[in-house]
Symmetry: D2
Subunit: 301 residues, 4 copies
């Protein structure tokens, strides 16, 4: 079940980047939840990079309009599966005709063919970051349910390249873009309100579930929480009191903080790849990190 996330609120994702549509089914949502469609629209715009200088033109030009197919009546969930789709309006397969016989370095073109013996070469097909739009829709519904339980998730970019001053991120990204290059970034995510006792003690530790959710996002290369990698140089006597909100895999009721790192996109003019791309994908990954965090949490609560 390689396209399903979660077993309580289970989200099944579908869609190729330049096929008819992308979307998914969110099953397990209890009846009676009022959906805030406006919040979903805004999160999709955030993912699409509206207002970001370095975002791909396609993402900005193609408003992601969600078509709701089932599970919701008069804006209220029925307890039945919520199916939705987003049409690929701006699909221009002919732009990608050259990809039919080319494997872009750093992309999944070749591994898809190794796995399936066939691939949808049109714009990355299923491997395109476009797939994350469905995650954002499902994650928004999860966030809305979590909010009713007093749980808030807030992610933000804390580093771009070597730069750690958020006021200088736009400038840094613009420099790489101008240079026909790309750059990575680190996102930090704060979670408040998780009830003590959340998480499972052995394999499904809270941190393992969060890592799994976040590492499933394209271009994510690492995950750490609490004292993380930096804590390796500190003796126990100094850092023992820093739980990072989790002990033995179970939330202790305090805030949880984790960080994750996103690599630069490999498709750049400098790498000889023309087309519509992002100079810093980490920027647009922020709402996706929040969405996956929400889906991971709602499945544990």
């Amino acid at each position: 079940m390689a396209n399903v996330f979660g077993d309580k609120w289970s989200f099944t994702s579908f869609g190729e980047s330049h096929g008819a549509a992308i979307g998914g089914i969110l099953d397990g949502v209890p009846a009676g939840l009022h959906i805030d469609f406006d919040m979903i629209r805004k999160e999709l715009e955030r993912r699409a990079g509206k207002g970001n200088k370095g975002a791909s033109p396609r993402a900005k030009n193609e408003p992601d309009e969600v078509e709701w197919l089932s599970g919701v009546m008069d804006g209220v969930t029925l307890g039945t599966p919520i199916a939705f789709l987003i049409r690929n309006k701006d699909a221009r397969p002919e732009d990608y005709e050259w990809l039919k016989h080319t494997y872009r370095p750093g992309h999944a073109d070749k591994t898809y063919e190794q796995k399936y013996g066939i691939r949808d070469w049109r714009g990355g097909g299923r491997a395109s970051a476009r797939e994350t739009a469905g995650r954002v829709v499902a994650g928004c519904i999860a966030k809305q349910a979590l909010r009713l339980k007093g749980i808030a998730i807030h992610a933000a970019l804390i580093q771009v390249g070597a730069e750690t001053d958020p006021d200088k991120f736009a400038e840094t990204i613009a420099a790489y873009q101008k240079d026909g290059d790309s750059i990575g970034g680190i996102i930090e995510c704060h979670i408040s309100g998780v009830p003590a006792g959340t998480g499972e003690p052995i394999f499904n530790k809270l941190q393992a579930e969060l890592a799994f959710a976040v590492m499933s996002i394209n271009a994510c290369k690492g995950f750490e929480y609490g004292t993380g990698f930096g804590g390796v140089t500190k003796p126990g006597s100094e850092i023992n009191h820093l739980s990072g909100g989790i002990a033995g895999g179970i939330a202790d009721g305090t805030d949880i903080v984790f960080r994750c790192v996103f690599k630069p996109t490999p498709s750049t003019p400098k790498a000889g790849v023309k087309g519509r791309h992002d100079a810093c994908v980490a920027t647009r990954a922020v709402p996706v990190v929040e969405a996956m965090t929400a889906l991971a949490l709602i499945n544990l609560i």
Copy 2:
């Protein structure tokens, strides 16, 4: 199913540190595999810290003898569930009587009680690192099956505190131990022979499955692969060719390398906790990292 890892080779773990026994059931192992019991014994000794200066005396004194209950006939697997147990011979619950009403900082004592309303206070109960012995047994069988497919997993400690020279690790650990303190470490794991095409492209990306497996080990605070966190300062033009063995969640046939970080144990004389403990748990985590990596891989292949 919070005590189950994997859905093809599925390992169900059981046992409290000072109950009758710990162990598990490994289901999904194909018939006809010859079990190398000697290798399992050695890996359990490695986990127990035999030969390590900083390891807990209990671990060293209590040889982990595996009792095989089912699924194996004349040393060959039957295709049926393999159940095994390891008795807790050296269980001394009375040593832990004081824990009945105490929550040790940095331990899961309190979160278990928050979750269940009850806990086995004897030596950490289910949260004890002793539980990982079962993982090592199951992981060994997975490793043996992987080896037949030409897949090798090799993990090693690459950093202890600020020290990165392996020849000086024993010395570094001894210094912290003498000081009644503890220290963290970083483990690096190399995997060779994974067939191109292994892994699933969306949620069950190979890196997400590895992160989930490794982050489920007690005291692990972070996971990274390929360029990891350090890669954030490098532009795409410099690091695009570094796949880390995975593209789009799918193995590309080259070696996979990941790193994970383990925090220092919180139970130290310096922290006022008497008893039998490890100065650097990362040392003993090495075979557990290999075991969990093997279990993650065998479920994807």
Copy 3:
């Protein structure tokens, strides 16, 4: 995951009878399968009761046009999730306005409300037999894959009321319809070509999986295979050689035969329920039984 069938070829179903659409996602289909769309169209017509005297007018008037959203390119599967939908063109919610405050006897109106506290009252909502159209689409793809492995599934009505002569079924049904009443039926299903060794020996016995699949169809009240209920009066010495194609939960390579019984629809003029209904739902259940059998088998092979 209450709307998912199967864990290898997993089918997630969605849709309310009078919402925007019904449909599903079929995940796990290997890449490279050529879809026979014509066969799917025919099976949907069979389910819709085209040519049946006693079938509901809606079913016959509303051709079920499948819109393919993903997973298929140029008629060939990509190995990615296959999403599809069927629009509810003939949705006439106003016809069902009276159901808003009424629970029809023998229907799920009340239990849905007991479960969810809310329900889509429009024509049965999610409980409508219309949901089975999605099963037929998914089942057809499974059947096509099974056919390539030499496995054939053939179901047929073998009894309507007390009548066991197929030539007289239409007549029998017409009599009940004229009387404003309804009648049940028994379907027998033959499966050939299942490889010896298929099925799992303990809980997921082949017969248990088939029973689960078939008993999940609306109105099905019983399942039996091999000697079934009738065999109770026969001593072991007489029926021991009749395996029914399965021993110990595992196929023995011979043909498998099972039977299932469908109750009469409760919504009839005689019961005071106006609207568009079937005099013998068992007739239309035949392709659904085949579809569910195919989905059960493909998940075991």
Copy 4:
């Protein structure tokens, strides 16, 4: 996960009939449940056929002593996995030496070998009815939890051969036993107290889950509920009000009644098979039917 039943209270079964032990792990049991060990002992005796004339001598001579390995402290559940085993004390593999090269008709000897290429020939190995002792232990714990919610399960033999008078069952069985033959039986199970709303509407219908659970018992050839197969001759106008306790897959709060049929054992003196066997396995299946019903229900509630 072919040896696992249920995903909330999940029971993993292990053990060959003449290996070291049989048993299992029951995961998902909430903390704080007081285990009634006496009831478990009695149910195991009932399964063993204590007091039954036609039961196998081994079953009666070998008291099934449960050894508890984890998950229980001072008779109270900890919320962690409950592992237990029953040693095969009376294992006499030499009695079965002749089976090494023989496939008994009507048994799973051959299909196991077809599936695995290897089999434990000692007394049926994993396919032996002895495996059901583990189900009874797990089912008893489920029953105890259900009882606290006001749910009661009561199964009884209602037919042996053509005989439907319970007072004459012992006599009927004795006649077949004397004749070196065997006979089947029908068990009826009544469930009271299931809360309205239990069950899932599409694939995991309450009746489908019950059928799956019961059809997974060795020798079970059919399942029916409510009006069952017999209802086929009755028009809707007569039987519409008979819900059988379930509508649309969801419990309506009234009693649920189902029946299942067990075939005669194929191993009889008449069939040329010497050894220790039962003349009517349906007798001993009664507590197993209750156990599987309890496990199915607890996973839905």
